[in-house]
């Protein structure tokens, strides 16, 4: 199988996804290699988060398959899917921390559910991960007492507590000031180097994407435009990629009749 030859850890083939009757992902093909940072980039509503949710098995696809570590997650039973997910670390855009639990309880949750470690060992591991995300001493606070940047870093600490093989990160820089955002980017690169993780980052922040990525996938209106190194993406002649890279507004050719029909609400 070609997966072992080119070290592919995530192999997505021809997937389509719909939200109601609206098609969100259109014939997506993407291979992510073990140990790389793959940044999935695109504008708002381009389908990048849906693509990540499909990789996590949270969104059903109507066609195609997604092989992760050799297993097709689109056909796995729920029990087996949970087993595969134990190898994932996921940091959601809003952190998704449990508001009724302290920082310590949030971070230790995967350990308490999947291991039989004693409390002392779990406390040490929790402090260790908090050190990694520069939040030492915050373990007894509640999520409501943390700032946006801290929430994301706690979510990251929880995501890496089980030393996952693949780390998914949804919009690490969204809503953060440039300094905290740069710190998080540095942390992601450090994690890859130190723990040899495969990291999938979904973002629309150009600067952040180019700082951390080994390869970048640009997605627009549910279709992948290009997957390649930073240089390949920068030199891509596609107008949509260049618009995104140079922060130019989109220039769609508007058909006068269509425009009039949209305004008056009449059907074609």
């Amino acid at each position: 199988m070609d997966q072992s030859q080119n070290n592919t850890i995530i192999d997505i083939k021809n997937i389509d996804n719909y939200y109601g009757e609206r098609q969100i992902l259109k014939d997506i093909n993407l291979q992510i290699r073990a140990g790389e940072i793959m940044v999935i980039m695109g504008g708002s509503g381009s389908g990048k988060t849906t693509l990540m949710r499909a990789m996590l098995g949270l969104t059903k696809t109507v066609r195609g398959d997604i092989h992760i570590m050799g297993k097709d997650i689109t056909t796995l039973s729920l029990k087996k899917l949970y087993k595969v997910r134990e190898e994932f670390g996921v940091s959601f855009q809003g952190g998704a921390l449990f508001s009724s639990m302290s920082v310590r309880e949030n971070i230790q949750l995967p350990l308490t559910e999947h291991t039989k470690l004693d409390q002392k060992t779990m406390d040490i591991m929790c402090r260790l991960k908090l050190e990694v995300v520069n939040l030492a001493g915050f373990e007894d606070l509640m999520p409501a007492e943390l700032s946006g940047g801290m929430l994301k870093r706690v979510a990251l600490a929880r995501a890496i507590i089980m030393d996952p093989k693949i780390l998914f990160f949804d919009e690490p820089s969204a809503g953060l000031d440039p300094v905290v955002s740069a710190e998080l980017d540095e942390l992601i690169v450090r994690l890859k180097d130190a723990m040899k993780m495969t990291i999938v980052v979904v973002t629309h922040e150009l600067e952040s994407a180019f700082r951390i990525a080994d390869r970048i996938t640009v997605i627009d209106q549910g279709k992948i435009i290009i997957t390649g190194t930073k240089e390949e993406v920068t030199n891509c002649p596609d107008q949509r990629v260049q618009d995104l890279l140079n922060r130019r507004p989109r220039h769609e050719n508007i058909d006068a009749d269509d425009y009039l029909k949209r305004l008056t609400g009449s059907k074609a």
Binding site: R53, L56, G57, L58, L78, Y82, K83, V84, R85, E86, F88, V90, F92, Q93, G94, A96, L97, F98, S99, L109, P110, E113, H114, F168
Partner: protein, 263 residues
């Protein structure tokens, strides 16, 4: 026009069938997990505290006033027939068979059912349930099982508290205020209330607990499917309201059904 009407009717029928199917599968998943050990005792105790202990005060007040009203009404009605000796029997049977289980269930819906639905709906909205699934943790096991077990423990106990306090409330009005003899109040109750009446009350309260927790958790968990056009806070408020309304109607309807089967 007619075709559109039939189509819309058909769509509604399909949607309703789909949701009933989802509810069935959801209940099956939750009940299945209840019978698979090990369970998190601490989580169950926390939920018993939330659903049970924290509802005790309101149940005591409701039970007390219900018993008092029953005794007051009963006394005036029975006085006309010279049968005030039957007051204990009327209060006891009314509370144990009907009012105890139903009013306890309605109080728990308002206090805990709505809160449970809102809590799970917010967890869904803020991706906490997705986060659980991504950590390889089954949300049915982690969130639903402690709530189901706690409801099945707490609500029958609350019903018993309601009954006892209601009987005491009836005693205060009937015996202390209206002057019915203490002996006839309790002897009347002793003579007319059988074990089968207590059993009926308990069966009702167990079925009501299951219905309340089923509807509340289902509505919250499937916020993203059931939101019917609303989003965010509005969707949460809508499913919470739906939970209270639907649970209340289902409780009253099932009360009649259980009564007609068991009486």
């Amino acid at each position: 026009m007619i075709v559109t009407g039939i189509r819309s009717l058909g769509n509604k029928a399909i949607n309703s069938t789909y949701i009933v199917g989802m509810m069935g599968i959801f209940l099956y998943q939750c009940l299945k997990q209840i019978f698979i050990p090990p369970h998190k005792l601490y989580s169950i105790i926390r939920q018993v505290h939330f659903i049970g202990s924290r509802s005790t005060v309101i149940i005591v007040f409701t039970g007390m006033f219900t018993g008092m009203v029953l005794a007051l009404q009963g006394y005036h009605n029975l006085k006309d027939f010279g049968s005030t000796d039957l007051l204990g029997s009327a209060v006891g049977l009314g509370l144990i068979q009907e009012l105890g289980p139903v009013l306890t269930a309605l109080m728990v819906i308002g206090r805990a059912g709505s809160a449970i639905c809102a809590e799970i709906a917010i967890m869904r909205h803020t991706e906490q349930i997705d986060a659980l699934q991504c950590m390889g943790i089954d949300p049915y096991r982690f969130i639903m099982v402690p709530k189901f077990v706690a409801a099945l423990i707490s609500i029958p106990i609350l019903t018993c508290i309601f009954d006892v306090v209601g009987i005491l409330g009836g005693y205060v009005v009937g015996v202390v205020l209206m002057g019915v003899s203490e002996g006839s109040y309790f002897q009347g109750m002793y003579n007319s209330v059988d074990w089968s009446d207590v059993q009926l009350g308990l069966v009702k309260s167990i079925i009501f607990s299951l219905l309340i927790i089923w509807i509340a958790t289902f509505k919250g968990y499937f916020l993203h499917v059931l939101q019917s056009g609303a989003h965010g806070a509005e969707a949460v408020s809508r499913v919470t309201t739906d939970t209270v309304v639907l649970s209340s109607v289902v409780i009253l309807a099932s009360d009649y059904l259980i009564g007609s089967i068991m009486l």
